[in-house]
Amino acid sequence: MSATTETPAPAAAPAAHGIFGFTRAQAVAFVVMLAAIVILPHILYPIFLMRVLMGALFACAFNLLIGYLGLLSFGHAAFYGMGAYLGAWALKVWHLDAALAILVGGATGGLLGLALGWLAIRRSGIYFAMITLALAQMVYFFCVEAPFTGGEDGIQQIPRGVAFGLFPLHSDMAMYWFTAAIFLAGFLLIHRVIHSPFGQVLKAIRENEPRAISLGYRVQDYKLIAFVLSAFLSGIAGATTSVIFGIATLDGVVSDRSGDVVLTTLVGGLGTVFGPVVGAAVTTAMENYLAQFGSWVTITQGAIFVVCVLAFRRGIVGEVAARLKLSL
């Protein structure tokens, strides 16, 4: 967000050290995350961990816009949900390879992002939030009516299929490693983009848009490219989730999904590299635990929103980073 927020100053020189522009602290955090990805499936239920990983990828994609461009999208469910539908369709009806089907889902998200983003970036701030919300609502109504989504039933019994023509994904562990690889690829892609000259321009636009324009940057093009990338990765997350669970429903496009990803990112820390991942672990665990209590999930989510905004704006990772004076 803009200069009035309390987010710590972004890390200085890009790609000055280490591979992929990780600072030393980030490299340590990355190794910890890798270790967790390798060890945790032997302790916790892999299906739960896959939900965390895809929630994290979705939140990382969302964070690219809010954290590095200051654009709050309230319509990311559209890309996630449409990615889930098309990925499911590619797998079940076209019998594509699982990896290819997930790419189809990502491409769907990206193309939809190109269309909706092209409209939404005409405004910024709260208007941007309202426009993305309204456009996603339109996508939702489309999905309710369109025959290929299967209406209330959704697309069911999607086979997991085979990845790259070599790896059958029927067992949960095989699916887990595949999901982990997708997450890591997406995570590193975002990190690489943020630390590229392109990412520096995004930050410049966030901090001072008129200045970026006066320096000759085509600001709208940068915003649109970032939006498409974010939508593409959201589509990947949606499609992978539909492969994991074998089902794609209206639940993916409904506006609650857009709210979830905002909450996940806020809890973890807006504009931090690892925040969305930590946020996804926290919110997924919370949903798991609260699922039996019905509408208490919504109430708790709302209360967390209120508490985070009033007293905990940096989020978990942002708070830790500020305490340790590190950039995470």
Partner: protein, 294 residues
């Protein structure tokens, strides 16, 4: 009688439904606009507060025996007071921060409010009867007009135009507009701007609650009734732009009518037509029909 190949009763019936929806759009968009003008936040809790208005009417009737007409005054007062508490205790802490935080806070509040009501009253909806004085139907010759529906449109028009008159034509409104333009300067003149902001939020919330009470006999009183409306109202606010009070009112009614007509001529498109209008407006007039320069 046929008009453009459509039976006249069907056409007028849908037109009337459109005007009624438009009346609700106008009241909600107006509330969002005046809150945005003073607080610079977009009140995502607006739909939840609208729903609370409808529940206030229902609760007053069932537990206190308070009828429709007193509820029409008391409901907005009670919910408006609740809004003032929200502003004082929570929202006012965020004015120095990015406006997006205000949006996130009110979004969270909406989740809490709607969740609590869903917990207590379920999602199936509670019936609220049309008051006897306003029940019945009038024969206009070309169509039958339910009295309550006519009342809703009239009441909404009166409330909207009164709000417009207060803001545009009275000394209080002049201060309000000045506060919107330049709060620091207005403060220097010795006007209590924070109190003005609180009252504005309370008034915007009261407007939503008034719409909620009006809606109670038409739609079933249920925790999700605000949600169904508010996403459309956000699109309407984008179409109209939030710079003008009259603009919000006109846009609200106009889009209700457009939606109603779409139901007659192309029923499949009726859910999305307002969003399509938003897309077209964004393409040609990104600031909205009545929006001011940024």
């Amino acid at each position: 009688m046929m008009i453009l190949g459509i039976p006249a009763p069907l056409l007028f019936g849908q037109l009337l439904l459109g005007v009624i929806n438009g009346a609700f759009y106008a009241m909600l968009a107006l509330g969002l606009s005046i809150i945005f003008g003073m607080l610079n936040i977009i009140n995502f809790a607006h739909g939840a507060l609208f729903m609370m208005g409808a529940f206030a009417a229902w609760l007053m009737l069932h537990y206190l025996g308070i009828g429709y007409f007193p509820a029409l005054i008391l409901g907005p007062l009670v919910i408006g007071a609740f809004g003032i508490v929200l502003e004082k205790v929570l929202i006012s802490r965020l004015y120095k921060l990015d406006h997006l935080y205000g949006l996130l806070l009110t979004f969270g509040l909406a989740l809490v409010i709607e969740g609590l009501f869903r917990n207590e009253y379920g999602s199936s909806g509670l019936p609220y009867n049309i008051p006897r004085a306003l029940s019945g139907v009038t024969d206009l010759g070309f169509m039958y007009l339910p009295v309550y529906r006519a009342w809703v449109v009239a009441a909404a028009l009166v409330v909207c135009l009164t709000t417009w008159a207060i803001i545009e034509k009275t000394p209080l409104g002049a201060r309000l507009r000045a506060g919107t333009e330049n709060p620091a300067l207005v403060r220097a003149f010795g006007i209590n701007v924070p109190r003005m902001i609180t009252i504005t939020y309370g008034a915007g919330v009261a407007l939503a609650a008034f719409a909620g009470v009006l809606a109670a006999p038409i739609y079933s009183v249920n925790p999700d009734m605000g949600d169904n409306f508010i996403n459309t109202v956000f699109a309407i606010v984008v179409i109209g732009g939030m710079g003008s009070i009259m603009g919000s009112i006109v846009t609200g009614f106009a889009l209700g009518v457009i939606e109603g007509l779409t139901k007659v001529f192309y029923p499949q498109g009726s859910a999305t037509v307002i969003f399509l209008v938003m897309v077209i407006v964004l393409l040609f007039l990104p600031r909205g029909l009545f929006g001011k320069a940024a």
